[in-house]
Chain length 420, copies 2
């Protein structure tokens, strides 16, 4: 008997059939002798429908009212799911974020969890009930409803699992787990059976879509084992956890390859090569709300000047370029260029710490594939390269193969072939 | 400057245009220097849509979950209305029943208000904001959401007005006020400018659809002046209030004529004419959940036996007849008849207490119109007659005219001619 937190996203509960499927799974988990807490998102497109309603009223809705509006979606899905589970003879109760004790700050739309006080959930479990909790929402010190922003339901689930000391937090999705690469781009990608939270963070931060950074950070900090798996099958998915002394998780050298095709590259040409210039450039970017990712300072032939390149989400490029132009006199650079068609490939693996030759193999594979490298950046367990957007698929396949990540034919059928 | 509670039903906020119209009115009331509290129902058919979602899941939803589900509707309408009012430059905040301090018992689906604790609403008003409160919902001692059942939003509005000592509780509707009869049946009906709560209770209890009994009872007990008026015009509507010593409200003898075409009549023939028989019959009816309305015990030619007739909602007739048949041996009656096609006309007026001759005028008018009377029952300020269903329209017109309730042509144009 275990305490299991199960999180289901909006696509899993999009309609009555989806709710029935989820209810069957929850009821089976409970009947198997487990205590079960379910975290649920709003049904399918219902959040978008609420956004449309608000857009028909005003283009500038107050954030507090927007959060009250949006939390109606989970209120609907959680009560319907409770009805469906009760209809299967398993007692279930649904709880709002407020009732479940999800206490947040007052940053409407992107609230941070300050404290978890799930006394009612504990009581519900003690009474033999499945406890269903609305994802994505909490309550602040004023007893006002808040939403947690993107990835909010995953975060609710992990935070509850941490507070309840759950044995596992199961994140249900429409794929079979976390893959060594995006199978839509790299058909030979295979499911990763076990991966560290650290590696998962690097993959998620560099384009892998499967889990939200914030939920993984929470899982790492509070040592919550995650099991990312398909809501359409009973197959094992991917276990995400911190290594322990007892079980050091003999890492493969490389966990996987992420890619990100949503960024553009700005190069600031001819910056005065003296201390503080880079700081001033990125101060201007930050003031323009740019999420700067990879940064490279190139060696310049003119020793008194240098070029600084960085990547950022494409939709932030225009405002950032305008901010830099406005500060041209102050920053003293000689020119600005912007490249939209770039792709970023990130090789991630905790084994990089102790293995040598990784970058040589990486660059060799890209050379063999005829891919030119524009920028390189590294962290302790990651190497990212910026390439031309049109080279990205070939680069991913070449690197995936070079590090022996390709699935055998059998594995590909079992793990790679369903429900994607 | 006054403190005004304004209640808007689902048809007033059915879409963005309706929300805009309501927001304009609220903003104007606030700009005129008043403190404004708004109580709002769910948008249009949204409650029915939520009921359909639940019906697709299970035929027996737990009442607690049903209440959580249904309260999503007001959460949506109240936050959208707050956005619309803010967009007009008037600060507004929306509050759930729980936030507004609507404390109820635990009777899900038909909760009773135990206490009002609207501290947040008081604070919101003090900060110059319009406070918008979700109608129909409250919270119980377990911090679980409850709904107040039929007429719940009216009840929320009146309870808030009482707790806040509001100067008036305005109930917005799609007609111009309370009329001397249903204008669809009696075209000469006119708007009643002022009516007592007591008369309103009798009219509402006998088929007038304009206000819910429960809200009027609340208004009477806590002395809250109601103003029932149209959300489509700025015309004065109908003021509903308790008479005071300073302002004794010189009553017209008759306030109005209500009608009810939703009832059927059961007659229990040949009951033993001895004490306790009627009690046992109505005990059987109560056990069958019948809402018995008018009761008449007829004089029988056989002095040892008597006939007892009563009316009840048509949809309760079948189960009630079955229950009476099952108890035939115990009750000792000789037969049962059921008549579906009856109509009930109720003449209501506080002036009946002090004026004589009312019933003579009533019966005279019905005789002149050729209407046969099946049953008669009276209260202190009401006379009800049961007639054949097909006679009801003629009976209403005749009685309306006989008591000088018909509008002059001018009045009919001003008060009776719009927005019905």
């Amino acid at each position: 008997m275990a305490l299991i937190v199960q999180k289901f996203g909006g696509s899993s509960v999009a309609d009555a059939a989806g709710l029935a499927r989820v209810a069957d799974r929850v009821a089976a988990t409970k009947r198997a002798g487990n205590d079960v807490v379910v975290v649920v998102s709003a049904m399918g497109d219902s959040t978008d429908e609420l956004l449309d309603l608000a857009a028909a009223i005003t283009s500038e809705p107050p954030a507090r009212e927007m959060d009250i509006l949006l939390t109606a979606g989970e209120r609907i899905s959680m009560s319907l799911l409770a009805m469906a589970i009760n209809a299967r003879g398993v007692p279930a109760r649904s709880y709002t974020g407020q009732q479940a004790g999800v206490l947040t700050d007052t940053a409407y739309g992107r609230a941070q969890i300050k404290q978890m006080a799930p006394e009612r959930i504990v009581r519900s479990l003690a009474e033999g009930q499945v406890a269903i909790v609305a994802g994505f929402q909490g309550v602040n010190d004023d007893n006002d409803v808040t939403t947690l922003g993107r990835g909010g339901s995953d975060t609710t689930a992990v935070a509850l699992a941490a507070a309840l000391k759950a044995d596992v937090c199961e994140i249900y999705t429409d794929v079979d787990g976390i893959f060594t690469a995006d199978p839509r781009v790299v058909p030979t990608a295979r499911r990763i059976p076990v991966i560290t939270t650290e590696e998962t963070l690097e993959l998620a931060a560099h384009g892998a879509k499967i889990l939200h950074l914030r939920a993984v950070e929470f899982a790492r900090r509070y040592n919550v084992p995650l099991h990312v798996r398909s809501s359409f099958s009973d197959l094992e998915g991917t276990w995400v956890r911190n290594p322990t002394k007892e079980d050091p998780m003999e890492d493969p050298i490389i966990a996987g390859v992420a890619h990100d095709a949503s960024q553009g590259k700005i190069t600031v040409l001819g910056c005065p090569d003296r201390p503080g210039v880079a700081a001033r450039i990125f101060h201007v970017c930050a003031a323009a709300d740019a999420n700067v990712d990879t940064i490279v300072q190139n060696v310049s032939s003119d020793s008194a000047r240098t070029d600084i390149s960085f990547t950022l989400p494409m939709d932030q490029a225009k405002s950032t370029l305008a901010a830099l132009e406005a500060a041209e006199d102050d920053l003293g650079f000689t020119g600005l260029t912007y490249t939209e068609s770039i792709g970023i490939l990130s090789l991630v693996g905790a084994g990089m710490r102790t293995h040598t030759g990784i970058s040589a193999t990486l660059f060799g594979a890209l050379f063999e594939a005829g891919v030119n490298i524009h920028m390189i950046s590294t962290s302790e367990i990651r190497i990212s390269v910026v390439v031309a957007a049109e080279d990205l698929p070939a680069a991913l396949k070449a690197v995936h193969a070079a590090f022996d990540l390709d699935a055998s034919t059998t594995e590909a059928v079992v793990y790679g072939g369903t429900g994607r």
